[in-house]
């Protein structure tokens, strides 16, 4: 009788111990998961897009498309040159611009602008786009990713800070109304 009681008491104590460990494990899992998911949580707060200057509008002649570079707004000390992001700036007339992300809408490779044939070509799988960024041919299913811009005191500002990807672009992030 007493031995049976002893065993069942030990079993109960062991189960309490296991339950206690499970509780602590669960409590610890919450901060760990939050730590791992922090890039996603940050992105959802939409803090990563901000207005950045590409410099004086005068450096972009009307009727031409030029490469511009900006420093990504979210930077870590050890990012090095990877935080310098290029984009294509097309100036249509004095007040109208188009700013395109460098990334091909197919798989993100850097597109090149050819002023002679007025085409953007991608070196990876041969995606081609017209000068207004619309799809011309090749594997991309859509045109180039366009970046919102505004002109402020003669400065060209763009709203950027996130690498565009085909899936991301499908989500309406802010709409086009931010253009000044």
């Amino acid at each position: 009788m007493t031995t049976e009681n002893d065993i069942s008491r030990r079993e109960v104590l062991m189960k309490i111990g296991l339950f206690f460990n499970g509780l602590v494990g669960f409590a610890l899992a919450i901060p760990i998961v939050r730590y791992i998911m922090s890039p996603v949580a940050k992105a959802r707060k939409d803090r990563e897009q901000s207005w950045l200057s590409l410099g004086d509008v005068g450096q972009f002649p009307a009727g031409e498309t030029r490469l511009a570079t900006y420093r990504n707004p979210v930077v870590n000390a050890w990012d090095g040159e990877t935080a310098d992001v290029p984009c294509w700036v097309r100036r249509i007339d004095t007040q109208t611009f188009q700013v395109f992300a460098i990334n091909c809408a197919h798989l993100g490779c850097p597109v090149h602008w050819f002023p002679q044939s007025n085409l953007f070509l991608c070196p990876c799988h041969g995606g081609a786009y017209y000068q207004d960024g619309s799809r011309a041919s090749g594997p991309p299913e859509r045109g180039l990713f366009e970046i919102h811009y505004k002109i402020d005191n003669g400065n060209l500002l763009i709203k950027a800070g996130e690498m565009p990807t085909p899936g991301r672009a499908a989500i309406p992030a802010g709409g086009k109304s931010t253009c000044a």
């Binding site: 940050k42 992105a43 990877t82 935080a83 798989l107 041969g126 017209y130 011309a136 041919s137 990807t165």
Partner: protein
Amino acid sequence: MRLIEKVGSWFDDRLKVAETIRETAEHPVPRNTASWFYVFGSAAITVFMLQIFTGILLAAIYVPSAGEAWNSLQILNHEITLGWFIRALHGWGSDFMVAIVLIHMIQVFLFGAYKFPRELTWILGVFLLLATLVMAFSGQVLRFDQDAYWGLGIGASILSRIPIIGPWGVHLMLGGPIIAGTTLTRFFALHVFIVPGVLIAFIAVHLLLVIKLGINDWPMPGRIVRRATYMQEYHELTHKEGIPFVPAAVWKDIVFSGFILLAVAACAIFLGPFGPNGQPDPTIIETSPSPDFFFLWLYAMLSYLPPESETPILLIGPAVGILVLLALPFFAGEGEKSWKRRPIAVMTVLLVAVSLGTLTHAAIHPAWSPVMDAWSSMPIPPQFLKELTPLERQGALVFQAKQCRACHALDHTGGKRGPELDEVAIRLTHDQLIRQVIQGGGNMPAYGKNLTPAETTALVSFLDTLYPPDKIPARDASQREISLNPK
């Protein structure tokens, strides 16, 4: 000698493992499994140990920082004594490991080793293959150069296409909104801690199963695997006519592993380390990124799939492939083991091998990538310029200046994305050429807005001359009627 024995027995009195080790080493295996076909698994483990060893040596120098990684690779290549050799061993070891794991998988598949009772061994093997491929990709990322940078962009673009969770997945993969410092550090953790840990654990269980269940017997045509009788049959094979694994079978493993290590070292010495190529600076856009050897087939497939079917095939294809591999021992767990009685298995291996081989071959000289500098670096071959009128020569100039050569070759020079135009005039009439140039189509951009009427006239009159002297250029049937009966 007596001293060594004394020390040995002192330790074993405490550890009590000598008996277990001897029993494991000398466990009986079927006589005909002491074969040169059974050496790939042990060779894969040997190369894996080489990877761990060289990987630790590299980690002693490498800096997993987006700003410094590329420089630290240069120091490994050029300043540290024999740093280039350790990098080369690790790089070539990676290629050998993927190759040996694939060969091992084909061998156990053709020998029916996944059948009862070794289903779990096969399933763990599938995960080991996937983990090896993750190591190969993340290793390419740690070689933080232009290919690594844009390769990450390609990975993120594929990941983003998963419905709903795709865009979150991109942030999780990159560790932030762009490819930068936090991307490299998480791939470092993946490559150095997480996946190697998984590999070590899975290899341990994989090996434990090989010892507990015994090595797969040599498949004999007609010797059918049945759940009810197999264990008894295998016991007879091993205990009546079996041989001890050590030393009767193991010597072939040892010789082959040594040969593989020698081959890795020879490749490392004579062919050197992989890269790094250009700096991972996204503002340097003069680059043609391409993946490492074992992902070239994917690079080819991403080009040849029609755009609208690409996303579903890309997302569903790998999942189906992995599920089929995992489910294989459950729907083919019994029956014939011998490849001589399994024609569909042999055909499947051949089909997959030929498909992957063809795609890889196509990707080594990619026909789909435009030759970005052809317009300025590849002049029109002179035979196409002989006896041309001034208008036609002007057209040749337009042809060159408008980057047509990026996609179209003349005399095999230039891009191969579009058709070679040496004989285009026998395929398309004058009017069809004008329409094709202006409207594009068939995967060609429309040049209507980018050419003046004069340029179009000149260009098409040049294209009209592109036919061999012994052939007749294409003509519109109605035009022919008019030219024969002018009134």
